[in-house]
Amino acid sequence: MQLYLPIAEVSVNAFLILGLGGVVGFLSGMFGVGGGFLITPLLFFIGVPPAVAVATGANQVVASSVSGVMAQLKRKGVDFTMGWVLLAGGIAGSALGVWVFRLMTRAGQVDLFVQLSYVVFLGLIGAMMFQESLRSLLRARKPGAPVRRAHVHSWVHGLPFKMKFRASGLYISVIPPLLVGALVGFLAAIMGVGGGFIMVPAMIYLLGMPTKVVIGTSLFQIIFVTAFTTVMHAVTSQTVDMMLALLLILGGVVGAQIGSRVGMRLKAEQLRILLSLLVLAVSVRIAADLLLEPSELYSVTAGLLP
C-alpha cells in the first residue's frame, strides 16, 4: 500500500515503514537503545530526505522509549534519581552540540562530520563492548575461574559531591553521571540519535550500575532528550513528518514490547555481545560509504549553499 508523506513529500510503502519500525522497536526494547542510530540511516536508504529522517527518527525514538520504559517500570528497572542527574547533563551537552552543529553547517561539512562521528563513536563503543563481553562470556564458561567483583573501586569513587542512588545501590559523586549525560546530549544533537548505545556501556563500565536498572534509566533519559530534539526540529525547520512517525511508532511499539520480553530471557553477556555486533555493523557500513568510491560523485540539494 503506497502512502504519500506530507512533509517528506515522497510516496512510500506503508507496510515497509511499519516493518522497519517493528524491527528497530524490537532491538530498542531488547537492548535499551533508542534505535535512532538504525532508523536514521534506514530512512535515508528508502529515499526520505536526511533532514526529515533525522527529525522524524527522534520523534519515533520518543514513542519506543516510552513504551520500553513502561515495561521497565513494572520490573522496577528505572533509577529516577540517576535519570534526573543524567538528564541535567544531557540538556547542557545538547545545547553545546547544537552550537557545534551550526558551526559545521556554516563550514559546509556537516555531512562528513556526522558520518565521521558515527564511524568513530559506534566503532569505538562497539569494539570496546565486544571485547569486554566476549571476555566475560569466556570467563563464565570456564569453571573455577575467579568471579568478577561487582564493585571495582576506581578514581570515579574518589570524586566529591557524593550522592546516594538507591535503586542502583550506588553512593558515588554526581560528576561522572553529569559528564556521561552531557556527552550523550552532545552526540544526540550532532548525530540525531538518542544516545543509548553510548550511555548503556558508560553506565555499566564507568558508573558501575547494575545491569537491571541500566536499560530503564537510559530510556528514561532518552525520552526527554529526544522529545526536546523533536520540538526543536519542528519549530526551526518543519521537518517532523507526523504520518511517517505514526507508522514507525505503530510498528515500533509492538516491536519494543516483544523485544523487551526477549531481552529478559537472554543473559546480560549475550545481550551485550549482540548489541556490540549490531553497533559495529552500522559503523562498518557507514565507513564503507566514506572509503569506497560512490557510483554517483555528484549530489543535488534544493536550496542555497549554507
Binding site: Q238, V240, T301
Partner: protein
C-alpha cells in the same frame, strides 16, 4: 522578465506564420496529492486551428510539449577523495532549476528545433536550467550542470520524451506525461509549441495546479503555520502510542 520577453517575441512573429494556432486541452488541470497519491498521468491533447488552407512549400509540422514544475535554487556538490575518504569537496550553486521538467516531441529535438528558438523559448532541459554566473565558483562548472541533469533524470524528475507526441494529419496531437510521486507542490506550467522548418510558429500555455489535499493538506499547513503546536502534537501522539501499546500488551498478558 524572460516570460515578458517571450511574449514580446511572440507578438513579433510574422503574420503569415500565425495562420496556424494551437487549441489545447488537458485531461486534468489540477493534481491533488492525497494520502494514497502515487504519481499521476496527464493527457495533453489539442488541434491545429487554421484560418487558411495548409501552407504550401514549407516543412512538416512538428509539436513540442513541455511541463515545468516550480523552480528553486539548487546546490550541486561533488565528492572527491581527500585523505582516503570521499567527501563533498567542490560545490556549484545553480540559480534556478525546475523541480520537474518533461519535454515531449514529435521527433528528435535537434532536427525539429533551431538553436535560436531553443534559446528564445528555453525548451530543452539544459535551457530550462538557468545558470547565471556559476563559472566563477568552480572549475569546469559545465560538469556540474551535466551532473544536475543526470541526477534528476535518474530520479525521474527530468524527462526527455522524443517522438512521444502523436500527430495525426498535421492537425490532431496528443501526449501523456507521467508526474512522479515525489512531486513538489505548486503551479506546473505546460507549454505547447508548433514548429515548421525548425522555427516556432505558435505557442500556447496552460497551468496545472498541484496541491496537497485533505489530511495531507492539514498536516502540512499545521507544520508550516503552527510549528510549536505541531511539534507538541507529534510528541503527544508518540507518548499516547507508546503508552497505549504497552498498556494493551499488559492487558493481553494479564
Amino acid at each position: 522578465m524572460i516570460r515578458a520577453l517571450a511574449l514580446l517575441l511572440l507578438l513579433a512573429l510574422p503574420a503569415a506564420a500565425q495562420q496556424e494556432q494551437i487549441v489545447a486541452g488537458m485531461s486534468q488541470n489540477r493534481v491533488s496529492i492525497t494520502a494514497d497519491f502515487d504519481g499521476s498521468e496527464i493527457l495533453i491533447y489539442g488541434a491545429v486551428k487554421r484560418d487558411a488552407p495548409r501552407p504550401e512549400g514549407v516543412g512538416p509540422l512538428e509539436v513540442i510539449v513541455t511541463v515545468e514544475g516550480p523552480s528553486t535554487p539548487v546546490t550541486v556538490r561533488r565528492k572527491d577523495r581527500v585523505a582516503g575518504i570521499w567527501v563533498n569537496n567542490a560545490a556549484v550553486r545553480v540559480d534556478r532549476a525546475p523541480s520537474f521538467y518533461a519535454v515531449a516531441t514529435t521527433g528528435p529535438l535537434n532536427h525539429i528545433l533551431s538553436d535560436t528558438d531553443n534559446l528564445r523559448y528555453a525548451i530543452t532541459i539544459e535551457r530550462a536550467i538557468r545558470a547565471v554566473g556559476i563559472t566563477a565558483e568552480a572549475d569546469r562548472a559545465g560538469e556540474f550542470l551535466l551532473a544536475l541533469q543526470r541526477v534528476r533524470t535518474n530520479e525521474g524528475r527530468y524527462r526527455l520524451l522524443q517522438g512521444r507526441v502523436e500527430l495525426t494529419e498535421e492537425t490532431l496531437f496528443r501526449t501523456d506525461v507521467v508526474l512522479p510521486s515525489n512531486l513538489t507542490e505548486g503551479e506546473y506550467k505546460v507549454r505547447l509549441f508548433l514548429l515548421r522548418d525548425r522555427r516556432v510558429i505558435a505557442t500556447q500555455e496552460r497551468v496545472i495546479g498541484v496541491r496537497k489535499e485533505g489530511l495531507e493538506r492539514w498536516i502540512y499547513n499545521l507544520a508550516q503555520d503552527q510549528p510549536l503546536i505541531y511539534g507538541l502534537l507529534s510528541l503527544v501522539l508518540a507518548l499516547v502510542a507508546g503508552w497505549g501499546a504497552s498498556a494493551a500488551f499488559r492487558l493481553v498478558r494479564a
